[in-house]
């Protein structure tokens, strides 16, 4: 059996669903974008003069059903496409504006984003990548630079960001240049766009724009309810689920109105509890994992993929980092969350640490093994081997040879964790895991070269960025 962790009974899932519908009808959801308000009105939804849309439950249920049950995240290399199937758990990189080196954090640069993409491209447990910010570039253009850095340095699917309407339009042009035109982009939308509602209960101008502009190309929409529990949603997990689910559902309704059948991901897993003393959102906290796993259960109720964030609030690869990453990774994974972000993430979601990416890769190896559960078949029971080896023998001997093929599947192999005797460990320098991981990251970066992007395509990307720069100058 493959284990599934459920925090809600079937009745409770339904109760939260109904609570979300009640919120959408009684309180409503504000859409800041005027055009979005008109789109909703045209679909028969009541939108008042302040832009607050009040949804009847039949409309919500009708449109949510239109979102497809099958979502594919596509990479530059089609072999790296990620099919989000029910019960399948996949893992992605974290994001940030800082890079941690030792005890210090410095602002991330375009070059860091390139290196980050390259390292994520090399990690075997990482299914799709996520940008970090090119803070050394003009602030209005970092989204384009991030996109270029990611597109050039990984062939896996990746998540981008868009800072403005001009930004998202440029990214569409860049994506089209890579796949060979806009018609092709509709068939192979190689990257995807996400936005979080502003809790409580608002869709921002920018979110509406990103959803709208990316809709014609069928680019998967990552629709997020992302409250800070106790601050922008009530302190109980149940209420947080009802509210963030209402937020995300309204986003999915909006997306289905503008483009029927557009792939959508219902993400409640970026919700984090607030520290009631410091007011900071705690990312490595176990409550975040519980919300994500319960959120995944709700998403399954609608037949949609879900997401979570494996995170730590620690600044260095220490014991806190290890336990927080393992818990916030394992709980949503056992809850069968479709996409778990945050490999390499550190310090809330502010920073990435290349060494942590190496450690997280090993944590994910352990998580994947846990998800595989226990396979019980005639073959895995190995009864003949037991008889042949007999009393007092051992199962390493060739007498048990037909069982050896299960070794890679049943056991996990450490890549960075220490499993040596003290002597061997000392002989190798007596280093802790952080130091070893740091060295390993450098080693991989020195070696790994992803499949390069065609130089002509790179020229096209550069031209788009140059054009954006000129427009920026004109505006100023």
């Amino acid at each position: 059996m493959k284990p599934v962790l459920e925090f809600l009974s079937t009745d409770e899932v339904y109760e939260i669903h109904q609570a979300s519908l009640e919120i959408l009808e009684r309180v409503g959801m504000k859409f800041e974008n005027v055009e979005a308000q008109q789109i909703l009105r045209n679909a028969g939804i009541d939108v008042d003069s302040k832009g607050v849309a009040r949804f009847h439950s039949d409309i919500v249920e009708e449109y949510v059903k239109k979102a497809p049950r099958s979502v594919v995240l596509r990479g530059r290399d089609p072999k790296k496409d990620v099919f989000l199937r029910n019960g399948r758990v996949t893992f992605a990189a974290g994001t940030g504006m800082y890079v941690i080196e030792g005890n210090k954090a410095r602002k991330s640069t375009y070059q860091d984003c390139c290196d980050w993409a390259r390292l994520t491209d090399a990690m075997k447990n990482l299914d799709f990548s996520c940008e970090i910010h090119s803070t050394d570039m003009p602030s209005e253009l970092t989204d384009r630079y991030n996109f270029k850095a990611m597109a050039m340095n990984t062939t896996k699917p990746f998540v981008g960001s868009a800072l403005s309407k001009a930004g998202i339009l440029d990214e569409i042009e860049m994506a089209a240049a890579i796949v060979g035109g806009k018609e092709e982009l509709r068939k192979r939308p190689i990257w995807w766009a996400g936005y979080a509602a502003i809790s409580p209960l608002t869709w921002s101008e920018n979110a509406c724009t990103v959803f709208k502009e990316t809709a014609p190309y069928n680019i998967p929409a990552f629709v997020e309810g992302e409250s800070v529990i106790g601050g922008t949603s009530a302190v109980t997990v149940a209420s947080t689920l009802a509210q963030t689910n209402a937020e995300a559902l309204s986003g999915i309704v909006f997306n289905q109105i503008i483009k029927k059948g557009r792939p959508c991901i219902l993400n409640l897993g970026f919700t984090h509890p607030m520290d009631m003393k410091t007011c900071l959102a705690l990312h490595g906290n176990v409550v975040a994992g519980i919300v994500a796993a319960a959120g995944a259960q709700l998403a399954r109720f609608y037949g949609l993929p879900s997401a979570a964030w494996m995170a730590t609030d620690s600044k260095i690869p220490d014991a806190q980092c290890g336990y927080e990453k393992a818990l916030t990774g394992l709980i949503p994974a056992l809850g069968r969350t479709s996409l778990i972000f945050g490999m390499g993430q550190a310090e809330f979601t502010f920073a990435v640490d290349f060494a942590k990416l190496i450690i997280d890769d090993e944590i994910v190896t352990q998580i994947r093994r846990t998800l595989d559960g226990v396979e019980v078949t005639d073959e895995t029971l190995c009864l003949e081997a037991i008889e042949r080896v007999g009393i007092g023998g051992n199962f390493l001997s060739p007498k048990a040879r037909e069982t050896f093929k299960f070794i890679p599947k049943e056991t996990t192999e450490l890549t960075i964790g220490d499993r040596n005797t003290r002597e061997k460990w000392l002989e190798a320098g007596g280093k802790d895991i952080g130091k070893r991981a740091e060295e390993k990251a450098k080693e991989i970066l020195a070696m790994h070269e992803p499949e390069p992007l065609d130089p002509d395509i790179v020229k096209k990307l550069d031209a788009i960025i140059e054009n954006a720069k000129r427009n920026l100058g004109r505006k100023a």
Partner: protein, 218 residues
């Protein structure tokens, strides 16, 4: 490359793959074709098992793969040995070892693995089993005159036995007649030095390497 050379290559590769059936087949075929049995060992089987050992040492393969290689080697040797005798040739002696788990301890997983590898590498191995009384080790050394005595103990409560046995060898006037190697989960290099053993190794493969250097040293 001649057929014999190709077969040697294939034999060493089959040992690496732990492919017992193919080793059997190729060794028989080569002997029938008049191959030199000593060369079959040296450039075929032994070359294969050396590579397996190296790969294991680098952490590239599992312990089970190492043991499959050892088994393939052993099976091959069982076919070649009678032929060597028939031709009145002699394999270069590698060495001999008496091995056992000390009195009070019945763990034998590690000891068996070590014994299998020694055997695969051409050592004459006498395995005294588990919970071996002290006197049996002493008698064994006296009668069989092995190059090496291997003492295994898993538990912290039984490792003192290794020291006692070394002392017993001394008082029996046998200490300089045999090299003593110790092994077991609770044992380490420091402890080995402390009790006056000649050798200790982290794992079965290293044990064979270590034993070979001990046998060669005066």
């Amino acid at each position: 490359m001649s057929t014999i050379d190709t077969n040697l290559e294939k034999i060493s590769k089959s040992v690496m793959d732990g492919d017992i059936d193919t080793v059997k087949l190729l060794v028989k075929e080569s002997l029938k074709n008049g191959a030199n049995p000593l060369e079959l060992v040296d450039k075929g089987l032994a070359k294969g098992i050396r590579t397996v050992g190296e790969r294991y040492g680098k952490g590239e393969i599992f312990l089970t793969e190492l043991l499959m290689g050892a088994e393939a080697m052993k099976v091959g040797m069982e076919i070649i040995n009678p032929e060597i005798k028939k031709q009145k040739k002699e394999l270069k002696k590698v060495g001999s070892i008496i091995i056992g788990t000390v009195a009070g301890d019945i763990h034998d997983l590690g000891k068996n693995i070590v014994a299998a590898l020694f055997s695969a590498h051409g050592f004459d191995v006498v395995d005294l089993g588990v919970d071996v009384p002290d006197q049996k080790f002493i008698d064994g050394v006296k009668e069989m005159k092995p190059d090496i005595l291997g003492l295994s103990a898993l538990m912290t409560s039984t490792i003192p036995k290794q020291r006692e046995l070394i002392n017993l060898l001394k008082s029996s006037g046998l200490r300089d007649k045999v090299k003593v190697m110790i092994g077991g989960a609770a044992v380490n290099e420091d402890y080995a030095r402390d009790i006056g053993a000649d050798g200790y190794a982290e794992n079965a493969n290293d044990a064979v390497v270590k034993a070979k250097t001990l046998v060669e040293s005066p």
